[in-house]
Symmetry: C2
Subunit: 196 residues, 2 copies
């Protein structure tokens, strides 16, 4: 019988990420991840269905934060206010101490086409889930889909900025800045006109 | 020696789409497509590198229309005006007589995960190309990426609406309406608040 190992999931996640980053995702087995922190393969598979799932653990919580953020917006709020509320809720799952982990995780994903596809698929699923939550508030189509996809775009851009080397702003602050940019798309002329 | 066949590409495209739609993309070979319009497999492969390419022919022209539309916007135009110009240029490639073809093509793609992936990849590439064209106008990041991805979102939503059964508006008109929706995301509260 295997005992319950306190903190096993977190240790497996940290070990997996380090092994993926140093040796490449394809080259690492679940057994090696487990062994590197003194656990058995069997313990690994009690926590994750496969090694890819180590990178995507917490998906459901992430989606739920978006939906909770949609639900937390005041009744009758403009769609973009609702999206801003959803982004605040989701971004709060990424405190600054998580930044190095997120940065390394992203570099592992960026180097592997199958993982990148999984990530894109995840963002598309996010937009669908948020659109559904917006429709449940009485926001009609195509506004619901447009707002939800814009929210996913803003999150993606803010997240990429947050994990950039040298960036010090928090994810909620960056997301808020990017939403402002979205509002400004319609208003201000930007960029100096090029010489003819 | 094979002769040049006038209109061969168009005949192959029409035949391929009909076969894909009736028998399923996987079940149809390039030779069968060619034979159905009295052409040889060799003629097929002078026009398309594989049967998948029949569905994605014209990609480069589509991308170029977006970029031309970006370049056609007046100097100093707000990013969303530039995107609107790009969308007008791209949407003009889809006149109403193409609607049945586009509708059938989309249903073939929607039924095949590999084709859907290819399509998603195409939209991501579109956003990258447009972002580059925006940066070349002096629009800085993250505005360029945000505007480009918003443009791809608007195109995707407008296109899905254009091919819906019963829709009669033109693609440029729908795209223009969806851009208005994007502007309105920030402004108006929509949807009736739900009863507590």
């Amino acid at each position: 019988m295997t005992r319950w190992e306190p903190g096993a999931r977190e240790r497996l996640q940290a070990a997996a990420l380090e092994l993926f980053a140093t040796r490449g995702f394809e080259q690492v087995t679940a057994a090696e991840i487990a062994q590197s922190v003194g656990l058995t393969e069997r313990t690994f598979f009690r926590h994750f269905s496969d090694k890819r799932e180590v990178l995507f653990y917490g998906q459901q919580q992430f989606l739920q934060a978006f939906v909770d953020g949609v639900d937390a917006a005041p009744p009758g709020a403009a769609p973009l206010e609702v999206i801003a509320s959803a982004l605040r809720a989701a971004a709060s799952l990424f405190p600054d101490e998580r930044r190095p982990y997120s940065r390394t995780r992203q570099s592992v994903i960026d180097q592997n086409p199958a993982l990148r596809e999984r990530e894109q698929h995840k963002l598309a699923g996010l937009a669908n889930t948020v659109a559904e939550a917006l429709r449940a508030r009485g926001i009609s189509e195509p506004t619901a889909t447009l707002a939800a996809q814009s929210g996913a775009t803003v999150f993606g851009i803010a997240f990429a900025q947050w994990i950039r080397e040298g960036e010090t702003r928090s994810l909620p602050d960056i997301a808020s800045d990017v939403i402002h940019e979205l509002v400004n798309l319609t208003g201000t002329a930007t960029g100096s006109p090029k010489a003819p």
